[in-house]
């Protein structure tokens, strides 16, 4: 099975969810499973999930290597998104599948082509008696029809999320867009088509088996009309506005198309445009595979599409597969919903200043939330607030039905006068509309707490209902719940806490679950560590209920890594004898698979919803340390309500995040931190900067993902980055320092330093964006010991019980602590896989009361493998925004690569991240003055490797002075003869760009260089240290056979 690789826009953790489900059923069925995926933050790449796990680049070389080594019988490419499907095509076309005798299952090459190749798809749809939008396939300018009626839509073939496409409204727009679209398509093919702006958009999720049985799992209606990518649209399921005859017409069309395309064993989704008045239909596209919408449809209906698709791929028919939720009925039915589901996209435009925020055919959202309610507005408002952000949503051409529904909410809000005037019936009415306590409070100028208190005094409380796939028609033991109002509660009664709420967690019990296996060790050799319930039923729940708070929608800075941690937490607490309850609202995730925990509450992660869950579950503890920042925000209120936080208490979080408290703690412990001041005005900040000395790092207090963080070299910079109204931190910026990330475990007294990772980029680049390497090549034994000592002093002083992440900087031999996060960090999945130790499991055991010493963790001194984590960036989606690394995190995902040495691992990681380093050619260099000295050895090495050098004037002078032959290239702004660097890039006469920014922003020369490199898909390195590492990798990377994670871990010597 091929996974989908790093999280990118258009391809997120839905494919981890799909892959996990599929691996689970295939193993149950007795298949030996092999998985390839470069993304370490996936559950599917956990060593216990497949028989062989390859964390290798998802390119032809990487996958072919695995196939050659493992010689599988079949390749299943329909669960790993477009990445896997494209790779399957490549492998087949390169003759590799034939040569190795590997059968393609799920979808054959001809099926993939019929669905994905625009021309073939159009013909296929026509044969099925339907129409696609009228269009022309364009392979070059010669194919463009002479007369185009604007607007027209450009859709490049074989790209992610409509990437590279768009709507051209005029001839002028069309010219630029076609050029771009042609270059984006890996096959240089673009569809120029009739615009259906303003049509309604529907999507159907289908399954088909080898007996030609077709079912529709779910209908989805887009609120944003055609023209807005479905991934960026607010969507609702089931469809709300079509009468039966119109809906059945869609269903018939979908069935005819899946048959015509020939998807024989698996799932597919088909998008339709429908003109509201005439009912005219156009078939927009089809994915002959499990998709983002399938994940949504699975969560919306309780029908596990990926699981069923995997079973179909190996030859089952729909009537032979049981419906998980009922157990008694088969998968050959169509789910029916007695609730409404709404999906909301979550955007991250604030991370990409300058980028165009207009929504179009190219997907731009980074995550999504789902809300479930008994009415449309209830589901809509839940999904909207679950985003944890107040982005406006103002679609054009909204269907009047939705408009009326939203107006209903608006009227109700307007009618709220004062809190005191609201009585039971009012609360019930408002809650049934879907309004939260906070939203009611905003409408009547009352605090959320006050609203809640009054509502509860009137006896208005939520009820929980089951998602059962059949609207109650068949008895279902489903444990998948959502809240609603004014109805009977369906969740089984939970006896009040085993240990009284509000007290400390369950007393430490002798650890019986682990036996003689070292606790916390990745249990790949014992039991699968998948979300399958590993605990024996008789032990489940005897220690009470644990509520695990998830991380909500994916966003930059808080992604799949945290979901990975939550899933492991659910497994671990289950194995420890607790009943696990998951609260989350992200439909893409494994954590919201109803199999992952004992009970799933699909709810926004607001305090209102979480308190309601806790009040009905009576947990012995709430777990907040695995879901990133989202659960931490709820910790104080949960504690105040009398619920115990398991593991690290909230005060530790506060201690670490409150800079003044943290500063004085470090002072007391004798730990060095960069000099810092707190400022609440521009003048205070500038004064602070003068005292500390430039450069300084300026940022608001309480941030994640480096929001609004800036390195400033002069007072003007400070002034520009400090805004009135909030408190700002001014830190000494340790320029050129080596940055270190540490993940450690602590039981409150003793600390185990699990992973010391060195950043490839220097200080100042957000840790989430920096590549990092483990073990750290730049640390000697003494520095390493000092780092471990520092972390071991700090963790217990903070009060950590569980995981802690510490970021440190080393400058001139001194160790500084930059920050400490007493929770699971982004690097936990990477570190766990690199060292072969399940850190989350260990943290859960600590949180449950086990002492560190009793975990018998192995020493990790001699790692046999070097592992590199590299980030992937969505810059190509946001033209207009500068593609430069900085203190603000902008990556959406990550890849991992391991090898026997650092350069090989780094080169492989860059390959996995889609930026393979060139072996030869021309390297273009243009660096800022601070980096002029550092660039000389880099250029020298490149020259020795046979690269031709090109540079702009300043850099060229430096290189020439160092005796290097260098071609001088004109800057874009410079007048004169010869090529500019942008020309060079456009003509593919350059193969590597090293460009460190003098400043950022759309008008700088550097920006144009980086944008051109991005468009030409040429690796562009924006830091001096990154350049040095890359060149080192080009010089020293060796060819190495692929090796599975299991073999890497087994090769690791362990001493307990």
């Amino acid at each position: 099975m091929i996974g989908s690789g790093p999280i990118v826009i258009g391809q997120a953790c839905e494919f981890d969810y799909a892959g996990c489900q599929a691996l689970k059923v295939l193993r149950e069925d007795g298949f030996r499973t092999i998985v390839v995926n470069s993304n370490p933050a996936t559950i599917m790449t956990d060593p216990g999930f497949a028989d062989r796990t390859y964390v290798e680049p998802l390119d032809l070389e990487g996958v072919a290597g695995v196939l050659a080594r493992e010689r599988p019988d079949a390749l299943l490419p329909t669960l790993g998104g477009q990445t896997a499907l494209n790779l399957a095509v490549e492998l087949a076309e390169a003759g590799i599948l034939n040569e190795l005798g590997v059968e393609l299952i799920g979808a054959g090459i001809d099926v993939i082509h019929r669905a994905e190749d625009r021309e073939q798809f159009r013909d296929t749809v026509r044969l099925a008696g339907h129409r696609v939008p009228s269009s022309t396939v364009v392979n070059g300018w010669a194919d463009v029809p002479r007369e185009l009626t604007f607007p027209v839509i450009l859709r490049p073939s074989f790209t992610l999320g409509g990437h590279g496409g768009g709507t051209a409204r005029s001839e002028d727009e069309f010219v630029g867009m076609l050029e771009r679209a042609l270059s984006e398509s890996p096959v240089g093919q673009v569809l120029v088509e009739e615009s259906l702006l303003g049509w309604d958009e529907f999507e159907l999720e289908l399954m088909r088996d080898r007996n030609d049985n077709v079912i529709v799992v779910c209908s989805i209606e887009n609120l944003d009309p055609m023209g807005v990518h479905t991934g960026d649209s607010v969507t609702v399921a089931p469809q709300m506005t079509l009468p039966d005859e119109a809906y059945q017409e869609l269903r018939d069309a979908a069935a005819a198309i899946i048959r015509a395309v020939g998807v024989e064993t698996g799932g597919a989704n088909i998008q339709f445009a429908r003109e509201r008045e005439s009912g005219a239909l156009r078939v927009i596209e089809m994915n002959p595979r499990v998709s983002r919408s399938s994940a949504l449809a699975s969560k919306a209906t309780g029908y596990p599409i990926a699981k069923v698709a995997a079973k179909l791929a190996v030859g089952y028919t729909l009537d032979e597969i049981p419906n998980d939720l009922t157990g008694t009925t088969p998968a050959s039915f169509e789910p029916t919903l007695d609730y409404v589901v709404v999906k909301f996209p979550r955007f991250a435009f604030e991370k990409f200043p300058g980028a165009d925020r207009t929504l179009g055919t190219q997907m731009k959202s980074v995550g999504e939330t789902m809300g479930i309610g008994r009415t449309f507005t209830e589901a809509f408002l839940k999904a909207r607030r679950a985003r944890e952000i107040d982005d406006a949503w103002e679609p054009t051409g909204l269907h009047p039905w939705f408009e009326a529904e939203l107006a209903r909410v608006g009227r109700a809000v307007e009618e709220i006068n004062s809190l005191d005037a609201l009585v039971a019936d009012d609360f019930l009415r408002l809650k049934r509309l879907g309004l939260s306590d906070r939203e009611i409070g905003v409408a009547c100028d009352a605090s959320e707490d006050a609203v809640r208190a009054r509502r509860r005094a009137w006896g208005v409380r939520p009820a929980f209902r089951r998602v059962d796939s059949c609207a109650g028609e068949v008895e279902a033991a489903s444990t998948y719940y959502y809240s609603t109002w004014g109805e009977a509660d369906e969740a089984p009664p939970v006896s009040p806490a085993v240990a009284p709420a509000g007290q400390s967690p369950a007393p430490p019990l002798p650890d019986t679950a682990g036996g003689t296996v070292p606790c916390g060790a990745v249990p790949h050799s014992t039991v699968p560590s998948g979300p399958a319930p590993p605990a024996a039923p008789e032990t489940t729940g005897k220690r009470g209920v644990v509520v695990i708070l998830g991380s909500g929608p994916n966003r930059i800075g808080q992604g799949i890594e945290f979901d990975y941690c939550c899933v492991h937490a659910a497994q671990s607490f289950r194995a420890l004898g607790f009943e696990t309850v998951m609260v989350n609202c992200n439909p893409e995730t494994v954590s919201t698979d109803y199999d992952t925990s004992d009970r799933l509450y699909f709810e926004p992660l607001g305090i209102e919803e979480v308190l309601a869950v806790c009040e009905r579950e009576h947990p012995v503890g709430v777990v907040i340390q695995f879901g990133g920042q989202t659960p931490l925000k709820l910790a104080r209120a949960l504690e105040a309500a009398g619920f115990a936080i398991l593991g690290t208490p909230f005060d530790a979080v506060d201690l670490a995040e409150d800079r003044e408290r943290f500063g004085s703690l470090c002072r007391d412990l004798g730990i060095a931190v960069p000099d810092w001041r707190m400022a609440s005005s521009q003048s205070e900040a500038i004064a602070a900067a003068e005292e500390i000395g430039y450069p300084v790092l300026v940022r608001p207090s309480y941030v994640l993902g480096g929001r609004q963080m800036a390195v400033c070299y002069e007072p003007e910079g400070v002034a520009a980055n400090v805004h009135p109204g909030s408190r700002f931190l001014v830190d000494r910026f340790l320029e050129g320092a080596l940055e270190i990330d540490v993940d450690a475990l602590c039981d409150g007294a003793t600390t185990f330093v699990a992973a010391v990772m060195q950043h490839v980029e220097e200080a100042g680049i957000h840790s989430g964006d920096s590549s990092c390497v483990l073990p750290p090549p730049g640390l000697d034994a003494a520095l390493r010991a000092e780092i471990e000592e520092t972390v071991s002093t700090l963790a217990p002083a903070l009060g950590v019980v569980g995981l802690v992440n510490v970021q440190l900087a080393i400058l001139d031999g001194s160790v500084y602590v930059l920050e400490a996060n007493p929770r699971a960090s982004r690097t936990v999945p990477f570190a766990s896989k690199a060292i072969g130790l399940n850190l989350v499991d260990a943290a859960c055991r600590l949180a449950a009361g086990t002492r560190l010493a009793d975990l018998h963790l192995p020493a990790l001194n001699d790692l046999q493998q070097v592992s590199v984590k590299a980030a992937v960036f969505p810059f190509r989606r946001f033209p207009g925004s500068d593609a430069v690394l900085g203190p603000e995190m902008r990556s959406t995902g990550e890849v991992m690569a391991s090898a026997a040495d650092y350069p090989t691992a780094l080169a492989k990681a860059e390959r996995a991240a889609g930026r393979p380093l060139p072996a030869s050619g021309t390297a273009f260099l243009s660096v800022r003055d601070q980096d002029k000295r550092a660039v000389v050895p880099v250029a020298t090495a490149l020259s020795r490797l046979g690269f031709a050098l090109a540079a702009t004037s300043g850099t060229a002078r430096t290189l020439a002075a160092a005796g290097l032959a260098v071609e001088h290239v004109r800057k874009v702004a410079e007048t004169g003869e010869g090529s500019t660097v942008v020309d060079l890039l456009r003509r593919s006469r350059c193969h590597l760009v090293i460009n460190t920014p003098q400043g950022s922003g759309a008008r700088t020369d550097g920006y144009r260089i980086r944008e051109a490199a991005l468009a030409a898909r040429i690796p562009c390195i924006t830091t001096a240290s990154g350049a040095a590492a890359a060149v080192h990798a080009i010089a020293h990377a060796r060819g190495e056979d692929v090796l599975s994670l299991q073999e890497r871990i087994d090769a690791q010597p362990r001493t307990a």
């Binding site: 007996n211 030609d212 049985n213 079912i215 529709v216 089931p238 709300m240 506005t241 079509l242 009468p243 039966d244 005859e245 809906y247 059945q248 269903r251 018939d252 028919t317 729909l318 009537d319 009925t329 088969p330 050959s332 039915f333 169509e334 789910p335 029916t336 919903l337 007695d338 609730y339 409404v340 008994r374 009415t375 449309f376 039905w401 209902r465 059949c470 609207a471 109650g472 028609e473 068949v474 008895e475 004014g486 109805e487 009977a488 369906e490």
Partner: protein
């Protein structure tokens, strides 16, 4: 105005009256179809029933006369979680149908699934709960009730005059979709009242026994007519028509606990091993016999979903191949039958 639904077991569900004022008695049943509310309420098979929609919102897309499955509303009352008007609520009001919204329909569905379809009353407005419950006890149960007389056509009529085969449809409460599908398949369709004599029908190329409300067992005269048709003319039974054919061929029928009503029911076609997702609406079913005539079975509960008597040139389905509302997977069944009837004509000629 508020209102309530009372079940014979004493359960009361409160809601808001959104249809006609007054009250109605009937058997409380639920349908899980997510679309097609107007089709459901006008389907004569829902006569003497109070229908609860499990769909979360009902009335979203208004009403249209061509969606009606008959000339009037047949359900006695309508129960919904969240109604949307005004087109749909006006329609209910104009037809004098008491209807409730804001009902905890999921709890009601669970109650009916566990306790079975039962006698009930919809009260739109104020009424004594005790008196209502007492009055419910005085209502007849569905078992043993012959209802087709009240919903059948008073006299014969032609639905479509031109066609490759002349098909007679016996109307026990026939849905328009059946007539529409037959005509679409190329048949000339004549409709006969439920008490039509066999001699009036045998002259046709084929006879369709339609769907309809109530218990098939007391329909002695209709069963006798079916028996008299068998072997003389091709017969196709749908829903109640299927049950009548079953009894005419010596099978038993029985009342299902809560019936099958919806648009997502999987049925296995034994001859091909294929699954049809079907529209269903029945409270009674044919008891399986050893004879092996069951050509279709429900993948939900294994009940008989269709019979095949090749030697009698008769067949039947419990589900609704005409859909309306629901998926069209079984449309080809009617078309195939019409084709067969046509080729029978050709052979005879």
């Amino acid at each position: 105005m508020t209102g309530f639904l009372a079940l014979e077991d004493g359960a009361i569900f409160h809601g808001e009256s959104v249809g006609a004022p007054g009250f109605a008695f009937g058997e409380a049943v639920f349908t899980t179809a997510m679309t097609g509310y107007q089709e459901v309420v006008t389907d004569p098979s829902y006569a003497e029933q109070i229908v609860c929609f499990s769909a979360p919102m009902v009335g979203n897309y208004g009403v249209a006369s061509e969606r009606s499955e008959s000339g009037r509303a047949h359900a006695r009352g309508v129960v919904m979680r969240e109604v949307r008007g005004p087109a749909w609520t006006d329609w209910l009001l104009e037809r004098g149908l008491p209807a409730l919204s804001g009902i905890d329909t999921r709890s009601l569905v669970l109650q009916l699934r566990r306790g079975g379809a039962m006698r009930a009353a919809v009260v739109a407005g104020d009424a004594s709960v005790e008196e209502t419950l007492r009055a419910i006890q005085e209502q007849p149960t569905m078992v043993g009730r012959a209802l087709c007389e009240s919903v059948s056509t008073p006299g014969p009529y032609d639905y479509s005059e031109a066609g490759r085969a002349r098909i007679a449809v016996v109307d026990y409460g026939c849905k328009r979709s059946i007539l529409r599908r037959l005509a679409k398949a190329g048949a000339a369709v004549a409709v006969f009242p439920h008490q039509a004599e066999a001699e009036e029908l045998v002259g046709f190329d084929g006879v369709v026994l339609s769907n309809g409300p109530g218990d098939p067992e007391p329909l002695g005269a209709q069963i006798a007519t079916v028996r008299a048709l068998l072997g003389r003319v091709p017969v196709y039974g749908i829903c109640l028509g299927h049950q009548l054919l079953a009894i005419a061929t010596g099978h038993d029928t029985f009342k299902l606990p809560f019936g099958h009503r919806g648009a997502n029911h999987p049925v296995l076609e034994k001859a091909t091993g294929r699954v049809l997702v079907t529209a269903q609406n029945h409270g009674f079913a044919v008891r399986p016999s050893a004879a092996g005539e069951a050509a279709y079975v429900s993948l939900y509960d294994g009940t008989v979903e269709g019979l095949e008597f090749p030697e009698l040139n008769a067949r039947s389905v419990q589900f609704h191949p005409e859909a309306g509302p629901g998926p069209h997977d079984a449309w080809p069944l009617l078309e195939t039958w019409v084709e067969e009837v046509c080729s029978g004509i050709a052979k005879a000629a």
